[in-house]
Symmetry: C2
Subunit: 758 residues, 2 copies
């Protein structure tokens, strides 16, 4: 296969470097000391029979975290980060994720529970493994790396060659070359990335093969790892011989099933090996990799990129390894696995040759400087074993006293990190917080999620064959198109609500200043609100809370409103407090009070210090990447202080509330206070009715209520509605400043997928 | 009742001048010569048992057109205009609306069919009228004017007085005063507005009371009009006596029902007179008015405004007329009705006194100069009878030869006027044409329509208890909220369509110029379209129809696209013609081809003249108030001509098509060509599937198809979809440049109201 020539002559270099990438990461749930826990797989993660992201592997304690395939490795890492944050924040307080491949703190074997899948065959298979290999060996964890060549590359390269008659044969040959060359040279990756130097002695169920204090590069990839018995031999000379010999092992009873064949490469493309011959290889799974304890998610992005480059190198090589070379590779792997991580490897020269060939490939392909630097770094590590992950891990073990101590320490650190911005998904912080919260719940509950457009907050959700789309956290197929259009228009909203019998303050609309002023006698002496018809952010609104008393004030307010819109409304002013009702379907799920930015004195600190103290709340930030906004001390706030006879240096008395703003917007530092339980049920029902009247399933209803404890009466003195909001904010309810959190995103999922019963 | 004082002291002048106004107009359907037709009420107007706007009155030939109540008389007139345009455009080609109150060209009595309502009682009542009064008398037509005082005025005035104990009593007293004073002074309005000076002799079923060539002011309001027998006397001294005496007439058999009592004022508030006592008077109906033949809709707005002022004057008068005064008023009415329209009236002095009192009232109220001028004009008409409508009508009759000739001539003129802009509703031309077309169909079919917000094209529709909202002609509750959000985003649209298995051209998105250019090798030698992700008007799009051949051209195109959006797509170019499919539900209702602005030569005219000729099409205008846009001859068009070696003065050969634009937009003078019947059915089904995949009920799907006659095949060479549009334009299908009109608005109504079976 003259791949180099085909790529060069057909300018396929860019396509050759494209592909799809997926990661699977096993790891043990442990206690704070690194002991494996014997609790069942957490119920919060839904059902393993379908969960696409959070599974259990061999044992109940052994998590398997899976990213979907992505065209960019960066995206797979963002997924890995998000899944980890979901898992770490969902685990019981006293559980952690162990960051090392080799388990420490193994419980007595009988306490290890095989993963309890719904399908009895899945459980039986694990019980067979327990009997055959012992449970401890099954507790080892690692990273699986899935790689698919760009289908367009395969197509174009096939078109440019003559050796293979069919696309399938060509594609299979490509993947066989990749697999075999990988198996031949995998020891290089092991040398660089290995991180399982030791294990507690009980793991061996007898005498440990390691001398006291002996460290190796990778127990996991050694003969003491997760390997088949030596009689199991699968022939790699061709895909045909590979499939046939694998099938023969099963027929002969050496393997209970094809999947019991443990190879560091698995060719994927069907349920059975024979499917590969019939349908072609779709992608390859590389299972060599130990967990990297220095990486919060078990592998560094730079290493994943290097692995990709290495895989391309395996395809780029002139030769294609056969069974003989694969056997050589296996022996070298075993040998390197048992080397001391601090020592040079026996095969350094071969390693350097291969890496230099890869470097030359990158230059031919015109690949990025970053990729080439990665290879150069690894070349340096061939010369200096202490720079390898294994080398660094030995130093850490020596520092902390044991591998278990290292594991426990890092496990705690990574869990704490996952809570730093507990309201966000760090890797998806480019999206709105509400979409992040929804995405968190989707990952947790196991709804397949595709990010159709991150900038646009557009997700596609799938559960079985049931497909739903969501935009901005709660815009879905469940609302009617006309509903948001009604809500966008205050005049129409009021007409629709009045028509449906809800208490709406009377208002008159005007299209010219003259017309409005000519109608001044209608409003003289009344408390009124003057506002533009359609703007939403409080711009251009004047409130005459007592009463409008002269024509000039009235005219001025109308003029201000006309700056924002071509139509202006003069509306009766309603007395009372404004509450936001979050309605979903037939229920008000949350009620919120928004309070203008303020601090409460303690008799000790000055206003400036009180603001700093309040701003230290992790919920407060810039207001877009945080649920609440830090209080500013700008002109407006200082003016507000001045009106109260205060400055930023005044020390308010204990308990004294100091207003820093007149408006209650969260976006200007206001507090969000959950009032769901305090609000009289009757108002919640009214809010639901209002949402229904507009044909809305999800709706933010703003009611003015003088006394939230008294039952609603059917007149404007008891309550009134001014407007309703589509796509209502959820974060202020999920993470309020005070009061109970209302996880509205879960309710959105339940609305979309009522068939989900957890 | 000290109403003047109450209004003055409580600043209620503005509220006093507010109210609600509705108009009902009877008229006969006639042939081009003014003969009443004997055809049934047109089926196109749906069912009379519910139609709110288009009814029949006594006879099948007698239309009754009804406006809903409006707070502004101007709006009632806009409705009256719209209803007339609907009726005139829906009538058979050879039918017209007769503009005079007194019928001419009466058919033999036996050919006059009583209106065939669904309810047998309605028909029986008309048969009773035929027997009692003769059919001819029932054929007289007029205008009914409904007026309601502002409820807020009544409330405030009630609060400010002490004479009446309850709001209802006060309100009833107000309306009684209005009714009685009106009946006392109605002769003034008759003098000014009367327009039934003569009638053909057979109307009288015997000897005509008119001498040869005699004209009177109003036969309709005379003893020869539509009056009860002299024995019928209802007492107007109080509401109580009014109700009781009316009931007594029915009990005594002088009237078959309360509604048989013909008064020029009817108090409204329930089905029976007694309801008025129990529930209070809601509004008053004034039935005095002859059709004004000089007004296309039977009454001029200025006269309607004057009537309102006159009614306010009746309330403003210090005295309240009782039965005695009402009788005086009735006698004066009869006397004035029989005066010669060209002569002064016997009661001129009283008329001037009343009108001067009204003028003084307007000054006290600070009413507009316009209103005062109207009264001054009428005062002048008291001095000069030739200025009255009646006076002017006599001149017209003398000019044309007969009242029938006047009626026939004006009927033809008004019908022709209604067709001038046949695609619009003149009075609602501030709304989009598609909303006008929908509104037209709603009026025609009798769906109650409320214009919630005209600027926002927001309608509320009601049929029985079934309420629907529509914005911009086809945005309704039937579409899901998420659908337009999907369609708004080209990337998401393509992903959703690809997921559902539709042919979508491959594309790659980039967020930086550098990134896109680095991927240039992926596109070299391919035909591609480079476009911004989300703009819609063709801005920033570059098409490499053959193939992109160098990096610089590619980079330039990407840069242009980035000017319009933060994300840019590079998409495979599809070969073929673009067609717009209008999908509603499970059906493609229309297919349209848009052709760039062009003219076809005739060997005689030059390009400039050909453009003028093409622009003369009434469909062409500014493109917003007309379905098509006039072709311009600006820089772009002249450049396009130059490329063809032509100028605006060139004379193209017969049959030669001259391109004036490269783009096919209707908004730049393009032609719309209906291709619904030519398009192979398979593509129509694909378009429906695409709409379904996005959850859309109404959707404009753009397909690229190389050959519309061949059945669709499942690959991109056969067809491809680039985008789908929510709220698709309807006018280009309803009024295409070429091909069959597709009345999509009717389909929207059918979708919203499937229970409508016509």
């Amino acid at each position: 296969m003259k791949l180099q020539q085909i790529i060069r002559e057909n300018h396929l270099g860019l396509l050759f470097q494209q592909g799809n990438f997926g990661l699977e990461k096993e790891s043990q749930r442990v206690d704070m000391n690194g002991n494996i826990v014997t609790t069942p797989h957490p119920a919060v993660f839904g059902n393993r029979s379908y969960h696409p992201y959070i599974q259990s592997d061999f044992a109940e304690s052994q998590l398997e975290l899976i990213t979907p395939p992505n065209a960019k490795l960066e995206d797979s890492f963002r997924w890995l980060s998000a899944i980890h944050e979901v898992v770490l924040r969902s685990l019981p307080d006293d559980e952690y994720i162990y960051p090392l491949s080799m388990p420490a703190g193994l419980p007595p074997e009988e306490q290890i529970q095989e993963a309890q899948f719904d399908n009895p065959d899945d459980v039986k298979y694990r019980e067979y493994l327990s009997k055959t290999y012992g449970k401890y060996k099954q507790m080892v964890s690692g990273i699986h790396y899935n790689f698919q060549l760009s289908p367009e590359f395969v197509e174009k390269a096939f078109a440019a060659q003559t050796e293979y008659a069919t696309h399938k044969e060509f594609q299979n040959a490509l993947y066989m070359k990749l697999a075999n060359n990988f198996l031949r040279y995998q020891w290089i990756l092991l040398y660089l990335l290995a991180a399982s130097p030791t294990v507690e002695s009980q793991y061996f169920c007898g005498k440990s093969p390691l001398a006291a204090g002996q460290f190796v590069r990778s127990l996991r990839s050694s003969r003491y790892g997760y390997v088949n018995s030596p009689e199991v031999v699968v022939n790699h000379d061709s895909l045909q011989s590979y499939v046939e010999s694998l099938e023969a092992q099963v027929v002969e009873g050496l393997l209970i099933a094809e999947k019991e064949f443990y190879s560091n490469v698995r060719l994927r493309g069907g349920k059975k090996a024979r499917d590969l011959l019939e349908n072609g290889v779709k992608y390859a799974e590389f299972r060599l990799f130990d967990l990297n304890p220095f990486a919060p998610y078990g592998i560094e992005l730079s290493d994943a990129k290097f692995i990709h480059t290495f895989l391309l190198g395996m395809l780029w090589l002139e030769e294609t390894s056969g069974q003989k070379e694969v056997e050589i590779g296996k022996q070298r792997l075993y040998q390197v696995a048992m080397e001391d991580p601090r020592s040079e490897t026996a095969f350094r020269a071969e390693g350097e040759t291969v890496l230099n060939q890869i470097l030359a490939m990158l230059e031919t392909l015109g690949s990025s400087e970053e990729n080439r630097d990665l290879v150069r770094e690894k070349l340096a590590q061939l010369a200096d074993p202490n720079q390898t992950i294994g080398g660094r891990l030995i130093q850490a073990i020596e520092q902390f006293g044991s591998d278990k101590a290292v594991g426990a320490k890092f496990a705690q650190t990574y869990k704490a990190q996952a809570f730093e911005r507990f309201y966000a998904l760090s890797a998806f912080d480019n999206m709105e917080l509400s979409t992040q919260a929804l995405f968190f719940d989707l990952i947790q509950q196991g709804i397949s999620t595709e990010l159709l457009d991150e900038n646009d907050q557009f997700l596609a959700l799938k559960f079985g064959e049931h497909l739903e789309y969501v935009k901005n956290g709660n815009m879905t197929s469940h609302d009617q198109y006309i509903s948001p259009l009604i809500m966008e228009n205050k005049v129409v909203t009021k007409k629709v609500l009045a028509k449906a019998g809800f208490n709406v303050p009377k208002s008159v609309e005007f299209t010219t200043l003259e017309e409005a002023v000519a109608h001044y006698p209608l409003f003289e002496g009344k408390a009124v609100v003057i506002k533009p018809k359609s703007t939403n952010y409080g711009l251009g609104i004047t409130i005459f809370q007592q009463a409008v008393k002269n024509r000039e004030d009235f005219a001025k307010a109308v003029e201000i409103a006309f700056r924002e819109d071509k139509e202006v409304m003069v509306e009766d002013y309603l007395v009372g407090t404004e509450y936001r009702f979050f309605v979903l379907g037939d229920e008000t799920l949350a009620v919120l009070l928004r309070v203008p930015a303020n601090v409460v004195g303690d008799g000790v600190h000055c206003v400036k210090e009180l603001v700093d103290l309040k701003n230290a709340d992790p919920l407060r930030g810039d207001g877009s990447r945080s649920p609440l906004k830090k209080i500013a001390l700008g002109e407006i706030e200082q003016l507000q202080l001045k009106e109260q006879g205060l400055t930023v240096d005044s020390v308010p008395e204990k308990g004294q509330t100091v207003q820093l703003r007149a408006n209650s917007n969260i976006s200007t530092g206001g507090d969000s206070i959950d009032m769901t339980d305090q609000m009289h049920e009757s108002y919640k029902q009214i809010a639901v009715g209002i949402a229904h009247a507009m044909g809305a399933k999800v709706c933010g209803v703003d009611l003015i209520i003088p006394d939230l404890t008294k039952p609603a009466e059917p007149h404007l003195n008891s309550w009134g509605v001014i407007e309703a909001n589509f796509n209502p904010m959820m974060m202020m309810h999920i993470f309020p400043y005070q009061g109970k959190s209302r996880r509205l995103t879960k309710a959105v999922i339940k609305m979309l997928f009522p068939e989900l019963d957890n």
